[in-house]
């Protein structure tokens, strides 16, 4: 296990933890960006350059900006007077802890069966492009359709209703 992996995982987990616990919603969005960047660098560490750069482009470039826009459009940065956690926070935390306990137990129990260090796969963008337009062309087209539908749907949902004041 390299030191870079531990630094990046620490950064990612810290960013994720801050994103769900900070009081100010804008700070949460910034912490979320840190977590996304850490994940992108973990992908690069895993020799998945294409996925790493896609992660940085899509998540930091689009999703984080979209979250900030939504926060600013909804006055979400105001801290609510009766706390940031819902009434059922204890049950939620317990469920999350139980899920982590089960997942962590499963990983640690099976760690002997997991494959060890292997040679880095030599995957070029050329191969990825060929796979996308060859073997995976149908999923690619479906994703294109889905993105178009989501774009139109998001605009329709967020559009002002007719006859609405303001």
């Amino acid at each position: 296990m390299s030191i870079v992996f531990w630094i990046l995982s620490f950064l990612t987990v810290l960013g994720g933890l801050a994103a769900v616990t900070l009081r100010n919603t804008v700070h949460c969005a910034l912490a979320l960006t840190v977590a996304f960047a850490g994940l992108g660098m973990l992908y690069l560490q895993l020799d998945a350059q294409f996925a790493g750069f896609a992660q940085i482009l899509v998540y930091i470039g689009a999703v984080a900006i979209l979250v900030v826009f939504a926060i600013l459009l909804t006055r979400g940065s105001d801290t609510p007077k009766d706390g940031i956690f819902s009434r059922t926070w204890f049950a939620g935390t317990a469920i999350a802890a139980a899920v982590f306990a089960v997942l962590g137990w499963a990983v640690i129990e099976s760690v002997d069966a997991l494959p060890h260090e292997t040679a880095a796969p030599a995957v070029t963008v050329n191969q990825i492009g060929n796979a996308l337009l060859g073997r995976y062309v149908l999923p690619l087209e479906i994703v294109a359709l889905l993105l178009t539908a989501a774009l139109v749907g998001a605009v329709m949902v967020a559009m002002h209703e007719k006859g609405e004041s303001k």
Binding site: V20, A35, L39, A48, V63, G83, Q127
Partner: protein
């Protein structure tokens, strides 16, 4: 600890953090942030298994992760559009106050 085990543990921790955030926060946008974290944790698992799996040249795990990123982007756009629409209607994004199905 093998490298794959480390990545799986980090992904499990990130998934639990996202789940905890989605289940405990009051603000609808923060719930969406928690869901995004869970999707990202699953992606980290896919990429790690692709990297240490027996046939990385088949690109299966990487493609799955890239498609999951695209679907997550669509989900974020529609989800945040819904939050803005609900905010315009109810003047709040507090999920504890959204307890009616009738407008």
């Amino acid at each position: 600890m093998t490298p794959l085990g480390g990545y799986l543990l980090v992904a499990a921790l990130l998934f639990a953090i996202g789940l905890g955030g989605a289940l405990t926060r009051r603000n609808a946008i923060l719930v969406l942030i928690g869901i995004e974290l869970m999707l990202n944790a699953a992606n980290l698992n896919l990429i790690a298994f692709w990297r240490y799996g027996p046939h990385p040249e088949a690109l299966t795990g990487m493609m799955f992760a890239v498609f999951a990123i695209a679907v997550a982007a669509a989900e974020a756009a529609v989800g945040l559009g819904l939050v803005i629409s609900i905010y315009r209607h109810a003047r709040t994004t507090d999920l504890d106050e959204m307890n009616r199905m009738k407008g």
